[in-house]
Structure formats: C-alpha cells, structure tokens
Symmetry: C2
Subunit: 341 residues, 2 copies
Amino acid sequence: MVEFYIKNEVTHELPSNDLPKFYSFGVPTYTNLGDQAVSLAQKKYIEREFPEYQFIEILEDDNDEGIEIVKKAIRPGDIVSFVGGGNMGSLYTDHEEARRKVFSTFVDNLTISFPQSMHFEDNEHGKAEEKLSQAAYAKNSHLFLIARDAQSYHRMQTTFKNKVLFTPDMVLYMKPVKHEVERSSALIVLRHDSEKVVKQETVDGIKNMLSDNYSVDETDTVLDTVKRITPINREKLFKQELELFAKQEIIVTDRWHAMVFSVLTGTPCLLFGNSYGKGKHAYFDWLEHINWVSYTDEDDLERIQQQVNELMQVHTHEYDIKDDFNQLRHVIQLNSNKYGL
Amino acid sequence: MVEFYIKNEVTHELPSNDLPKFYSFGVPTYTNLGDQAVSLAQKKYIEREFPEYQFIEILEDDNDEGIEIVKKAIRPGDIVSFVGGGNMGSLYTDHEEARRKVFSTFVDNLTISFPQSMHFEDNEHGKAEEKLSQAAYAKNSHLFLIARDAQSYHRMQTTFKNKVLFTPDMVLYMKPVKHEVERSSALIVLRHDSEKVVKQETVDGIKNMLSDNYSVDETDTVLDTVKRITPINREKLFKQELELFAKQEIIVTDRWHAMVFSVLTGTPCLLFGNSYGKGKHAYFDWLEHINWVSYTDEDDLERIQQQVNELMQVHTHEYDIKDDFNQLRHVIQLNSNKYGL
C-alpha cells in the first residue's frame, strides 16, 4: 500500500482538503545519509519558505503506484517535484527511470527537478540512457531542471531543451548547528562505490599521518546500522550524523555530503574527487569562501599534510548561502502568484 | 558631441524609425582587448539572436550625455544594457559609477547587466562603494544582473535584491576560428595592474623553461600600439589578436581573456590566478571540459613544466557553449513576447 508522508506522519490516502499540494517524489529509503539529508532539506525548504503548500512525500519505492494516485487528485496550481542529489544520468538507472516517469506524467503542472549533478557516460549505454531521458523530459514544458554545480548546469543545458536553474545542493539550506562537544578525533569518510577514485595508497598515507596526532576512525555516510530510512526516522539519524561530525578535529573524505556536514558543524574538512567531479565543482561553486573546508586532487602526502595543517588553523565564521536559492524561490513564487495562492 | 554606433557606422542622433531598440551602454574606448572583445561579442549576440532590435552602442566616455538623449527617445519594449567584463565592484569606480547611473535611470525598461565578475573590497572603501551600488541598483525592478562565474553569482545574490542570472563571459559566444598559420613560438601574456598576483620569480622560471624549446615573447592584451578603440576599429584589432594567438605553440597567462582567445583559436594555454579569483572560477565553471586549456596555482616549476607538457599533447575538439547563454536568451525572449516584437 502506498505511503504518503505529511508532516511527520504516514498516511495511505491523499488528504481531502483544499490546500494546494507540493508533491515530492523520489524520496529514498536506502541508507545513504547524504541522499536522506537532501530529501529532508527539501521538506524544510518548502515548509519554511512556502507554507501555503501542503508538502507530501512519496517514496521512490512507491513511484509507480504513487503516480497513479496523484494523477487522479492533482489540480492546477499543485507542484510536482523529484528528489535532488547526484544521480541524474546513466550511473543509477533505477533512479533515472523513476525520474523520467514523474516528469513525463505531470506535464501540466510546474515540475521541479531539485538540484542535481548530472553524468551520462560517454559510451553506448550512456548515449542510450540520455536519449530516453531527453524524450521523457521533453514532454514537460513546465519542467525546471536545477543544477547544483556549474559543470552539471552546462551539461543539462546542452542535453535538454528544458529551462535550467542554478542553485546549491539543498542540504546547504540547512541551518548550521553548534554542538557543545569536545573535538577529539579524526574521521576518514570514504565511498565504496563505482565513483571512487582516490588511491588506497593515498588513503593509507593519510591514515598514518593523522594517527600521529589523533585517534583515527574510518566510516562512510552510508549507514549499515539501519536497514531502511523513511521521512519518519530520517531527521534523527541526520542529527546523529552531525553530532558525529562535530566531535572530529578533522574530516578527510571523497563524499560531497561529508563536506556539507562539515560545513554545517564547523568541522575542518579536506575533500577529494570522485569519478566525474561533482564534489570538486560544487566546492568551487559554493564553498570556496568557507575557510574550514578545502578541496584537493593531491597525492603528494607532504602537500596533503600542509593542507590539513592549514585547515586546523582556521577559525569558523558566519556564512549565508540562502540567497543562492533565489532562482528556485522565484519559480515557485511565480506559480503561487499565477494561481493566487 | 555624443556618438551612437549602429552597425558599423557612427551617427550623432538616434535613428527616427519604429524599430525597437537595444541600447548598449558602457562601451569602452581604452585599449584592453579583452574588454573590447566583450562589447564586440554583445553586439554579435544581439544582432544574430535578436535581429528584431536595432542595436545601438554608446561609449562609456559619453555616458552622461548619452543617457540624457536616450531618456527622451526610449519607448516601452526597448532594452537597456551595460557592458560586461570584470569590473563590477570597488576596484574600478569610474565604471561602477557609470553603471549605477544607467541602472537607476531607465527603471521602466528591461535592463541587462551583461555577464560580469564582481568584487567589492572588504574594507571601508569597498563597503561604501557597495552601499552606493545597492541603492542605485535597487531603484530598477526590471534589472537583471548576470554573473559570469559562480563566485560572482553568489556575491551578486547576497549583495543585491535584483534577479541574478548565470551565463559565461560574452566572448565565449564568439565562434572558434581556424587559422592556417604555423605555430612557432610561446607567448607570455601578463597583466600589469593591481590584480596581478603571480610572482616575478615564477614568471622568470617559466620564461627560462619555455626558452629551451621556443622563442618566447611577452605581451599583454592591453595594446600600446593604438590610443583609442571604438566599435569601428574594434573587430579588426580583435581579429589581429586572434591571429597572434593562433601562431603560438603555448600561451602562459594571468589574463582571463587570454585564455578565452586561446579557446577560440585552439591554442594550448595555462592560466594563473588574479587577486580575486575571477579567471579561476570562470575556468572551472565553463572551460574545464576544453582539453587545451588549464588552470593552475602552482609555483613549483617542475609541476608547471608537467602541466605545459600535458597541454602540448592534447588534440583540439569540438565544443559548444552557446546553450549556456539560455538564461539571457530567455529574459530577452520574454520581453519580445510581452511587447509583440
């Protein structure tokens, strides 16, 4: 039975009230806390900034069934959206298929593709997937794609005919948090998927280097302590993760969202690249002015040591990324104005 | 007497016809070929993509007088613009003053600030200038600021209430050119202004290094062979500069537009930074997928040598940046639709 998540409750039917609806499709249940944080941030953003809409989340597991039910209930003025993140393209075809289906179904409503990085591989498989997405997205003239880095902005504009906006990753909308815990260790946060490019040799060298001064742990932002995350337990797990980050003297990672969590908690963080530059570009686009995080492609350990040392010296400062979401705000505002909401 | 440049002619009166007008203010007469190329590219863009408008250029030298004349002639549907480049902010107050005057005068017409980098210094002078610009820009609710790099996009959105778009530098709209000349030398293109940060030691090292294999010349994109450039002689000088670039085996520079000229001519180019990162950010935002150009902050000569060697190995390829101007295209298109042009 389909689950609809509204506020912090789950129901099996769409509410029968007159409020305009903001449907949030593609909500993950897998245990990648970066992706979970994205869907949480979308909810916070819409509920805080556009309270005139009732925010309804539909799990990606329920995509097909959810679409059928929303199809019957949707009204002009309602907004449809698909989750942001780093999976638009040919690397994660399940997600891409779910996205195509949502975009090509609700073609009469404002449709928002929350901030994504995009990567269709330059091979036969990639080209075939790209064609399928082009055909599906083209059906929806009310669809706005949002790129969360300039590389993806370029790719979306050259690949699709849809309008493309430019904003940061939604998680950067989350408020920074102060934790009154003592920082006492170092954490290495590494991906274990096909996007990994940092050499094991470099990782081992960093571990050795850090262990001279800190107790060093290694982890990933993909949890293995829970099997499934939903909008009900998502925020608690996200907060726990931020607490973990806030305890660290330094984070070394190749996960973009580990850098974002470091930004939110004021934790020094050095980010390495992934296979197609999504973290690198997002860093240079949005975070270079934040002193306690930095990006590197180095494999020279002495230079890495120097970068870590520099990060440890800096003081945190105020920052404000909210205005960078203005292009998104503007299209939703236009929809509200148009329908008198 | 005010000069208006229309097509390739100069007149002293505005034309008395019924064509909608596109007024291009802030056109430089100084001999920086990068800035000259920007104003040339704006003309090419509007004349090619929006031929329904009559494109009229007004020199920055004539700003005050030009404003008075245009004020009397302007009609709804006409578009006003101010030149793009890298001088929005407190470093070049003459330009900033001219810009404020244009934006705060034509408040009832679509007003376009062509793609700029922005930098208000973090000191008393910078803050004071910023306030003046905020007050002037705020008067114009039809003003669209365009950022040509993500760092400036963030700065514009946090500094001004105006809508902000994101596109490349206008010169990247220019078509790539093939020159049938033999490449036979190396060219070092360096700025001599307050934005310079590359150490003389590094420059000398690079010169020595390159002179092992090439005849090495040093120049700047600011000409000292002419005193004044106008829309009449601008294109010829631009083409000559591209010819000069096309003859080089390698360009080493700290000038953003020297990298752009290298892109257009398929010339290998290594770019160093300036005082506030405008070239660096524009490179990562728009050019990283172009194989024959690269950015560096290195001062280790061995590593610089390696980067130069890598650049010399690559083959040029097709590229297309035109779709990256879509946000600009869209606001002009909306104006044309609104006024039935």
